[in-house]
Amino acid sequence: MSLSEEQVSQITYLARLSLNEAQLKDNTQDLNAIFSLVEQLANIETDGIEPMSHPLHMSQRLREDIVAEQDQSVLFQSVAPKTSNGYYLVPTVIE
């Protein structure tokens, strides 16, 4: 398998990243080298093996569906780039 620059460009878009031409070239080369390393996994016999989703095979701990946290939106919004009236402000997207 070999990734083309076009495919890497599509991956960057999906990841919401942008690369310039030189970065795209370098990253295509690096990703191909990394995926060549990863390709060896294909040769390992894993039929009947369960995927390991948790190192301790623990299941998700659930809690009662009750409010456990107090409202801290003002505190949390204090670190946002811009807020107004309890909302996060982002640059205008609809003129």
Partner: protein, 480 residues
Amino acid sequence: MHTKTIVELAQGLKDKDFSCVELTQHYLNRIDQSNLNAFITVTDELALVQAQAVDNKIASGNANILTGIPYAHKDIFCTKGVKTSAGSKMLDTFVSPYDATVSQKLNQADLVMLGKTNMDEFAMGSSNENSFYGTVKNPWNRLKIPGGSSGGSAASVAGGLSCFATGTDTGGSIRQPASLCGITGLKPTYGRISRYGMIAYASSLDQAGPMTKTAQDAAIVLNVMAGFDDKDSTSAEQKVPDYTTHLNDSIKGLTIGLPKEFFSSGLDDEVADNIMVAVKEFEAMGAIVKEVSLPNSTHAIPAYYIVAPCECSSNLSRLDGVRYGYRAKNVKNLEDLYLRSRSEGFGEEVKRRIMIGTYALSAGYYDAYYLKAQKVRHLISDDFKKVFEQVDVIMGPVSPTTAFDLGSVKDPVSMYLADIYTLSANLAGLPGMSIPAGFAQKLPVGLQLIGNYWSESKLLNIAHQFQLQTDWHLKTPQEC
């Protein structure tokens, strides 16, 4: 004062040889004069306020062993009111509104935080060359890397800039820098320490732990850091023992497994010699050595470099320039805001791993990469299970070489190979340690111990017994 352990400093404070303010000021002066770039933020004013409060507490006879001990906190742990950057431009302006559980526990123990340590961005790296705040230098040789991603923490302890430090280990990020800087580093069993408020890189692998001068100090700090936390859904409901209780147990009859895969080509001869001398030391103490095999550990690198990037691409998707962190200026629209904030805010290695994860999780590739890697992870874990039916502990090198030159490893694949001996313990969720075990090319060599689940107490006992017989952990760099 800066060469003393927690135990020695606690005694000094108790005997009034020095006050906590004097001790804290001593460390702050050393940080100020150091050129290791080990800290991103030095919290000098806060530290002196804490130190004064601690002096009052000691005077009133209300001290525990950790009261007033100055430590350095990896900049991945959220600290209320103090910048938490995770080594990234993305979080350069982020001042956390809350404390991580680990931060809260350390505060409650009356420790004095000197500052937040430098690290590879979002804990992605094996050399500490991926930080927005510049590379950290190895205290033993400033032209060498300190190891990553907890390189700032390791350098601060080795360089006498803090008595101990916190670290996190996703693929070896406590053990590898501990090894390369000649200190003691412990990665506990996954789930042993709360991940709440620890900025997530790969959630099924990340685990916090202490980085100290000695195993005894590591036991003391782990007593405070460990424990169930209902704020963390991955935290294990497992009773926390007193880790100092079994330090002095005899290790006569201990069975040590040496995995043949950990001594294959690629391991530096001098590093291998040091490891074998350390193993002989254990034999002299009555341990029995066996060769064992972890056949699937050779697949740990490709499995890790799928699992971890997949998790990181998901975890870091929250950083979009909207709610907190870096926001690009003069953007055209919302999509441009996301693209530019993330592209300008993340460094090269982080972007690379996000791209790997995005691709591996995309439609049509999920089964071939992510699911396959998770199955291989199971095989790796099963290998350990079989080996622990035969031995008490696994030993081997931490890193194939000693600290390499800054800037000398350019391509990512070669850098990823530096983690070859540490990754499998993370994939299986097992505890591991690095303890100083000699020198090669005038640089420290670490011996790795890997134990069965929840065997931290045993690992600390084994490490402590080694440190009673050797003095590698007492060596310090001449000039810091």
